[in-house]
Symmetry: C2
Subunit: 300 residues, 2 copies
């Protein structure tokens, strides 16, 4: 008998740069996959609907999950439930991604943040199996964080916006004022890909691993992560995103987190085994879109 | 019929300065109360046992809850479960408070952090009724935070240590290096009562409300709280502790949190109704000890 969690579903990972759509039952059974640039909402949602209509012709999907960039309105009682709210991405503010997809396809659709979705995927199939309190961070164009606490995704008032915490910033070492349009030098304003491009005048992939940019980057990320440990006490921290692929960065972050905590959080997971505590995503670049499938499967 | 949650229990709030013990079924039915200075572990635990033995002679208690200063070992599988671990408080490191109380009284005993306990009390009887994601902060000799996320107390790897997050510190405005023995200028190192005494050379209660100390204090606390909002997205933030009783401080903190978030967390709870979002404890000074009773009642 096929378990209910293995039902064939659709998954959408909606990012500010690209959209990935898949159908499948899990990481070992991805039936179809497409991706395209995030254009206007109409064009983008239209392309996603076309992909799924074509797939549904081959066989039914039980539901579709969306793991989206935000901020999102996730209050089911709100008239704008499923909307992207305050994004600076042109044309996308107040787009109702949930209803847009729902209208085009006559099946159940569920939505959560990209990082909460990725957490769900990592818990089901990746680096967080068996854990009930952990976070997933992404460090790319922006910085986001979500997670699972006491077994369920973090929502609360809205959802976490972990990239927007304030951390120490020494202007003598780093005179860059920060790139966040809302907060200047918050974590995202200091350590996102956008911040790196503005500070150094080139793309992160063109900055060599030996450049001092990466020690500064590791400092900021480690401070942010140490703050998340103090605030949330996660059992593990998964760190994905394009920036984290830079050679040596994850290692430097782990070392600096240990130094920053200074044995106050006195747990062998951190003091003796940090390589297994701060880890890359088990699902690689597919955490978000597989998480979207997991979200659909969980809600059917 | 009396509901199970109204069972007569004992509660212990163990602080670094004083210990409060009560028996009762809830805030409207406190049967007995005592408090004494936190001396050596032997003397202090002995006094608590004597109080409860005397009370048990009058009638049985179903269980005892302890809401304690920490850090604590809350891993039930650990051989040191129930111990206070890395405290700088002389004589108390590695004291097993749970087993100490259990040994002296032949009834079930349960333990959690002071701030998790206070959260539970506030959820059951105070300012967090009906909420399933909120935090409780205390600003006194130290700074601590705990809370309830997805309906249950925050544990994870160990338990939160919210006082020990790093926040911006402008040495030109505030040359004080911070008082935390582990981290120097973390939130607790900059904004606890201990930090105020060291920075200003007098006790917080002797610093008048118009002194610039309080604007600085509000700045640090607001930055910390804005970080907790970004990280956790709580539905409400309860702020207790002796320092928060200073006239005007809570109001200043609320204003500065709004300025710090700068409408990014675009929720009417914050943008329009912050007086109902950042609030004092509904149970006043009794959150901790009533929370200890709630902890006992919940675990029976």
């Amino acid at each position: 008998m096929k378990s209910i969690s293995a039902q064939l579903c659709g998954g959408i990972e909606a990012g500010g740069t690209k959209i990935v759509c898949v159908t499948g039952t899990g990481p070992d059974d991805i039936r179809a996959k497409t991706q395209f640039t995030t254009a206007t909402p109409e064009e983008t949602i239209g392309k996603a609907i076309s992909f799924f209509r074509e797939e549904i012709r081959k066989g039914p999907l039980a539901a579709i999950g969306i793991a989206s960039f935000g901020p999102l309105d996730l209050n089911e009682k709100s008239p704008t439930y499923g909307c992207i709210t305050a994004t600076p991405k042109p044309g996308w503010a107040n787009t109702n991604l949930l209803k847009g997809i729902q209208k085009g396809l006559d099946i159940p659709v569920f939505i959560d943040t990209d990082v909460n979705g990725a957490s769900l995927g990592e818990q089901k199939w990746g680096a967080a199996r068996g854990l009930d309190a952990f976070i997933y961070l992404t460090v790319g164009t922006g910085i986001g964080g979500g997670g699972i606490i006491n077994g369920r995704m973090m929502h609360g008032l809205i959802h976490p916006e972990m990239g927007h915490i304030r951390i120490p910033h020494d202007y003598k070492i780093d005179p860059f004022p920060g790139s966040c349009p809302f907060h200047g030098d918050c974590l995202e304003g200091l350590a996102s890909g956008t911040a790196m491009i503005k500070r150094w005048g080139k793309a992160p992939e063109d900055i060599p691993p030996t450049h001092p940019a990466w020690q500064l980057e590791a400092d900021y990320l480690a401070t942010g992560i140490a703050n998340f440990i103090g605030t949330l006490s996660p059992q593990r921290i998964i760190v994905g995103g394009s920036i984290m692929k830079k050679q040596g960065l994850l290692l430097a972050v782990r070392n600096k987190v240990k130094i920053s905590l200074n044995n106050y959080v006195n747990s062998p997971e951190i003091t003796e085994n940090i390589d297994n505590y701060i880890v890359p995503p088990g699902l690689g670049d597919l955490s978000g879109v597989l998480g979207a499938i997991a979200l659909a499967q969980q809600n059917i």
